[in-house]
Symmetry: C2
Subunit: 353 residues, 2 copies
Amino acid sequence: MKNYKISIIKGDGIGPEIVDEAIKVLNAVAKKCDFSLSYKEYLMGGIAIDTTGVPLPAETVEGVLNSDACLFGAIGGEKWDTLPRELRPETGLLKFREEMGVYANLRPAIIYDELVNASTLKPEVIKGVDIMIVRELIGGIYFGKPRENDGFKAFNTMVYTKPEIVRIGKTAFELARKRDKRVCSVDKANVLEVSQLWRDTMNELAKDYPDVELTHMYVDNAAMQLVRNPKQFDVIVTGNIFGDILSDTASMVVGSIGLLPSASTGDKTAIYEPIHGSAPDIAGMGIANPLATIVSAAMMLRYSLNEDKAADMIEEAIKAVLKDGYRTKDLAAFDAKEVLNTSDMGNIIAEYI
Amino acid sequence: MKNYKISIIKGDGIGPEIVDEAIKVLNAVAKKCDFSLSYKEYLMGGIAIDTTGVPLPAETVEGVLNSDACLFGAIGGEKWDTLPRELRPETGLLKFREEMGVYANLRPAIIYDELVNASTLKPEVIKGVDIMIVRELIGGIYFGKPRENDGFKAFNTMVYTKPEIVRIGKTAFELARKRDKRVCSVDKANVLEVSQLWRDTMNELAKDYPDVELTHMYVDNAAMQLVRNPKQFDVIVTGNIFGDILSDTASMVVGSIGLLPSASTGDKTAIYEPIHGSAPDIAGMGIANPLATIVSAAMMLRYSLNEDKAADMIEEAIKAVLKDGYRTKDLAAFDAKEVLNTSDMGNIIAEYI
Ligand SMILES: CC(C)[C@H](C(=O)O)[C@@H](O)C(=O)O
Ligand SMILES: CC(C)[C@H](C(=O)O)[C@@H](O)C(=O)O
């Protein structure tokens, strides 16, 4: 029987609760599909600061690199917001992404028909939306040097090199090939030199993918078009900070941020996590929605472990559970027949499997 | 009788058509309110390139600086997109903003009750939205140096100094005082040093405005909150590129980009323009919506000429015209009784005045 080594980072806030449910579901599906999973837990974020003094212990870096894939909850909280920058949870997260070499952050925005009313956008505008946002994750202004703040003047550097752009571009084009074969590259080439290089490089790369259509859009227009007519998009590829902003916009188009998974992949390993944060305000109350983490686990099965059937089973179970009217509190207003707590939602999905 | 010197930049695409209608309305209101306006036209953008070889002739800079205020249409078009960067219409626009010293770009996002259905967002989400976005316009990554593209590596610099932040912050706090007394400052301080200085400076400045509430929001969250619950915002203040993105998102919240005006102000002069572009695809067809430019003219009366009564009259005429079911083509789907062309829309507003 195949065994996979999964590294687990629960993190802060609701992180532990939602990851526990995803593990429950993973175990259920593994049993059905004849493989096994062994888990090892590592620390990151606030809990790592409290336990070890740093947001990203070396042990975590090593452990995750030696696993087949990493399932991650969420980190951060007010408690650690006033620490010096190098000790904050976010700094740990950014360093983690860099050390893992996960340059491609995939954020699918898909509508569940049952939840089409959960969005503030009109149902006819969002029904059928299926966007894959490919965000560059370990470059751009997040990591660019020089960076400085002397209290009077502060600056950051938005920088990309051609190989970095080619690498993320390839990810986008390859993904588009398995989808609707359209890539929209988002930049601000009418103002920024770094965007001009981005655009020129994408155009060059497009020659290797004659079967995929490449278009370009300015980031301000893209932010607008995501709200105006999200159905026009297939794959969106963009830099780190533009991707940060646009993927959050896209999550609202879909409605509940409690449903959206993400994968961060590179050449060494991959990290799967919900796109929502650690929600310290509801931590420990048992009302967090574990679905985004469970869908992230399904992505892990599909992309890192090649267990497509198991991934399908999770996704179908979620659809069935939603169809049958089970909801967590955040979705209670949308055709709920029964409102479940975090753990019961995990249970019922495991059951449906 | 008071006379005001207005500089006019019609620009490219639909620019000339929409500015003509605004002038028509300005003349109508001036007659009623006992002041006069004298106009002088200047070139910028594509038409300036075609006529003089550069996108921003020196004469334009001088002329606008010597006027009481500037009414501006829109610039740009595919025709000039392949020119070297320093000759493009956008480069002219950025240089113009810099030379005019217009550091504060005010973009109100207000819903007209009559057009509450024009948005892709649900009416109950947007009814009553009244946001003022204050975007820093002549700093940040748009103008930061060094900037370079050597074909392999390219970079830009996002930079702010404390005085720049104080200046735009004051604009926001002062505006909030005349509104709902709430400022939300948007940054990415969990990642960027330049945002940390922004946030620290806003916090310091807030001490001078104890009557105004200051909150902070990360830019990704702000992009999300604008779609999730736009009513929560009063004044939003943010840097150049974040403001570029967020104000376009906000325009979609409101629905029609054909309705939204903007003012760019500083210590030397002010420029009033619609937030939409030059729309070359519909130029010369007589179907462009002149309302955003006409509202911009009203802003000019209010902010630069202190002719509040005249501004009110224009705004009321627009509301009445919309209420009576007059629409331009872009808004034909929203309770139109009669669809007017560009010039007839200008005529009827002038008439209602
Ligand atoms: C927490 C923060 C540093 C992070 C980011 O900006 O990348 C988050 O917003 C995300 O999108 O994962
Ligand atoms: C045309 C472009 C340079 C400009 C900007 O980015 O500022 C436009 O998008 C705007 O918002 O006025």
